[in-house]
C-alpha cells in the first residue's frame, strides 16, 4: 500500500533527515520525495511504501504527528488513493 507523507512548517536544519529516520524506524520505504519552499514555509511530499510496515495505520499517523509537533511541523500521512481519486480521471 502506498501513502503520501506531507510535511509543512518553518524551515530548519534536519527536517528531511528526521522524518526519514522516523519512517525507517517504522520500516517504511521512501519511493519519491518532492520538496520546495512555499511562502517561506518548508513544504515536502513523500511517496512511501507501507508494505513492510507492521504498525497499525492509526498509530503510525499519530507517531508522525507527535514527531512533527515537537518541531513545529505539521506532518500527516494519507493513503495515496484519495489524491488519485481527486486529481486523476
Amino acid at each position: 500500500m502506498k501513502a503520501i507523507v506531507t510535511v509543512v512548517g518553518k524551515d530548519q536544519v534536519g527536517i528531511i533527515a528526521g522524518v526519514c529516520i522516523t519512517l525507517a524506524n517504522y520500516n517504511i520505504n521512501v519511493l519519491d520525495i518532492s520538496q520546495t519552499i512555499l511562502q517561506g514555509y518548508f513544504t515536502m511530499m513523500m511517496v512511501v511504501d507501507l508494505n513492510e510496515c507492521e504498525t497499525p495505520f492509526d498509530e503510525l499517523r499519530q507517531g508522525l504527528k507527535d514527531f512533527g509537533e515537537g518541531r513545529g511541523l505539521s506532518i500527516r500521512i494519507q493513503r495515496e488513493d484519495i489524491f488519485d481519486a481527486m486529481h486523476r480521471i
Binding site: D32, T43, Q78, D81, A85, H87
Partner: protein
C-alpha cells in the same frame, strides 16, 4: 505523477475549506423482521440493525484515519416502520422507535432514520398508528428520525395527511418544549420522497432497495465558495465552469470513500448524493456562495437565479465523478444550519416566501425553520401544502422541517445545538388558512404536459 500542488490543494480543502464526507449511511431493509408479535418484531428489528451495522462506525473511523478525510456522520436508515410494524396489533408504535433508538445507540451512530410512513395517496392502518405515535416517539428517543411522505407527482397531495401533519408537528413541539421543540428538527414532511437519501432527518430505506446498502453524502460549500473567490467579476459561464470542476473533485472523493466503505463492510454500494450541505461553521455556508456571486445579502432579488445556477452546476460536475448518483442531490438551504442563512434571516432579507421560491430550483425545501409558538396547526399545514405543491408540479422532492417554538416570538433566537445550529424565529402570515385545510381529501395529480 501527482504534483506537490495537487497534494496541497487537497489538504487545504480539508484543512481550511471544511471539505468532508458528510455522511456514510447504511440502508437496512427490515422487511424480513415482519412478524405478528410486537415484542418479537422489536427484537428482530434490534437484532438485524445491530448485526448489519456492527462495524459501520469502526469502518468509518478507519477510513477517516487512513485517508485523512473527516467523515462527519455515520448513520443508519431503515424500511419505513409503518410497513414493518403494520403486521402487529400494537396500538402504539413507540416501542418500535425505542428498539430503533437502542440499536442506534449500541451501534454508535448519531441518527437512525425510517420511523416513516408513505401516505401520498392514502393511509393504511399501520400508517395511521405510526403517524399518531410520532410526537411521543420523538420525545422519548434520542437518535430516531421520522418522515412522512404526503404527496407525489404521480399521486397528488393527500390533504388529510397534510392537515394531520400540522397537528403532529405542533404536538411534537409541545412534547419537546423543554428542548425548544427539538423533536421537530427530527421530523420531515415530504413530497416525492426518495428511497435512497443518506441525509437526515429524511432518510429511509425504500422497498425497492437491496437488503443492505451503503449510501454516501458529500459536502463542501466552503470549497465552492473558495473556488469562486478566484473569479470575481467574471461572467456566469466562468462561474458555472468553476463550480462544475470543484464539484467533480469533491464527488470523486465521495465515490472513493463509498467504494472503500462498501468493500470493507462487504455491503453493496448504493449511491453518492451530490449535495452541498452546509454547517453552522463560518466558511461552510451555501448562502455565502450565493453572496459571492454578487448578492449583497442572500434572499435579495437574484437569489433564486444564483441558486439555480449553483444547483445545476454541482450536479453536472458531480454526475461524471460518480458511478451512481441518487438521493436528494442538490444544494441544501437549512436556515439554522447555515451561518450565512442565519445572518440573512436576522437581517430580514431572507423570508419564508423567498425560501419557498428558492426550493423550486434546489433541494430540499423549507428546512430547519423556526416559527413563533403561536403559529396554528392549520397554518403549518398550509405551509406544507404550498411546499408540496411546488414539488408535485415540478417533479422534484420538496420537504418541510419546521419548528414552532413554544414561548418564542419573531426575532428570538432558538438554539438547537451542534450541527442543527441556531435559528431566528421567522414571521408567518397571520391570516387564516383554516377553512382551506379543513376541506381534506386529495389534490389530484398534475398534468405533465402543456407545461407553463
Amino acid at each position: 505523477m501527482l504534483s506537490l500542488n495537487n497534494i496541497f490543494e487537497t489538504i487545504e480543502m480539508i484543512d481550511k475549506q471544511h471539505l468532508d464526507i458528510r455522511t456514510i449511511t447504511m440502508g437496512i431493509s427490515l422487511l424480513d423482521c415482519i412478524c405478528e408479535d410486537e415484542k418479537r418484531c422489536c427484537d428482530k428489528i434490534y437484532d438485524k440493525i445491530t448485526r448489519q451495522a456492527e462495524h459501520l462506525v469502526k469502518t468509518g473511523c478507519d477510513i477517516e484515519s487512513e485517508f485523512g478525510i473527516p467523515i462527519v456522520h455515520k448513520r443508519i436508515s431503515v424500511t419505513p416502520m409503518a410497513l414493518v410494524a403494520g403486521s402487529t396489533d400494537a396500538k402504539s408504535y413507540v416501542p418500535f422507535a425505542l428498539a430503533m433508538d437502542k440499536a442506534a445507540k449500541d451501534c454508535g451512530v448519531n441518527f437512525i432514520g425510517g420511523f416513516s410512513a408513505l401516505v401520498q395517496k392514502g393511509y393504511t392502518g399501520g400508517d395511521r398508528k405510526l403517524i399518531a405515535s410520532i410526537p411521543e416517539a420523538l420525545a422519548e428517543t434520542e437518535f430516531v428520525c421520522s418522515s412522512v411522505n404526503i404527496g407525489s407527482t404521480k399521486a397528488g397531495i393527500n390533504m388529510d395527511a397534510v392537515a394531520q401533519m400540522g397537528r403532529i408537528i405542533k404536538e411534537t413541539a409541545h412534547l419537546t418544549a423543554s428542548q425548544e421543540g427539538l423533536g421537530c428538527a427530527k421530523l420531515v414532511v415530504f413530497c416525492n420522497a426518495v428511497e435512497d437519501n443518506p441525509f437526515m432527518a429524511g432518510a429511509f430505506h425504500g422497498v425497492g432497495e437491496a437488503d443492505t446498502v451503503i449510501n454516501v453524502g458529500v459536502s463542501g460549500p466552503g470549497v465552492v465558495y473558495h473556488a469562486l473567490q478566484s473569479c470575481k467579476g467574471q461572467p456566469f459561464d466562468v462561474v458555472a465552469e468553476t463550480i462544475k470542476k470543484t464539484a467533480f473533485h469533491i464527488t470523486r472523493m465521495g465515490q472513493m470513500v463509498a467504494s472503500e466503505a462498501s468493500h470493507r463492510l462487504n455491503v453493496p454500494f448504493g449511491i453518492v448524493d451530490l449535495s452541498l450541505a452546509p454547517t453552522p461553521a463560518v466558511g461552510d455556508s451555501v448562502a455565502r456562495i450565493l453572496e459571492e456571486m454578487g448578492l449583497e445579502v442572500c434572499g435579495t432579488h437574484g437569489t433564486t437565479a444564483a441558486l439555480a445556477l449553483l444547483n445545476d452546476a454541482v450536479k453536472k460536475g458531480g454526475v461524471m465523478a460518480s458511478s451512481h448518483v441518487g438521493g436528494l442531490s442538490g444544494a441544501f438551504i437549512p436556515v439554522s444550519e447555515d451561518e450565512g442563512m442565519i445572518a440573512a434571516a436576522l437581517d430580514g432579507t431572507l423570508t419564508l416566501e423567498k425560501l419557498e421560491a428558492m426550493t423550486c430550483v434546489c433541494s430540499v425545501g423549507l428546512d430547519m425553520i423556526a416559527v413563533p409558538g403561536t403559529t396554528t396547526a392549520e397554518t403549518i399545514s398550509a405551509i406544507i401544502a404550498d411546499e408540496a405543491a411546488v414539488g408535485m408540479v415540478n417533479s422534484k422532492t420538496t420537504a418541510v422541517r419546521i419548528i414552532p417554538v413554544e414561548g418564542k416570538k419573531v426575532g428570538d433566537m432558538v438554539e438547537m445545538g451542534g450541527l442543527l445550529g441556531s435559528a431566528p424565529v421567522m414571521p408567518v402570515h397571520e391570516k387564516s388558512s383554516a377553512d382551506f385545510i379543513a376541506r381534506g381529501g386529495r389534490i389530484p395529480a398534475p398534468l405533465q404536459s402543456l407545461k407553463n
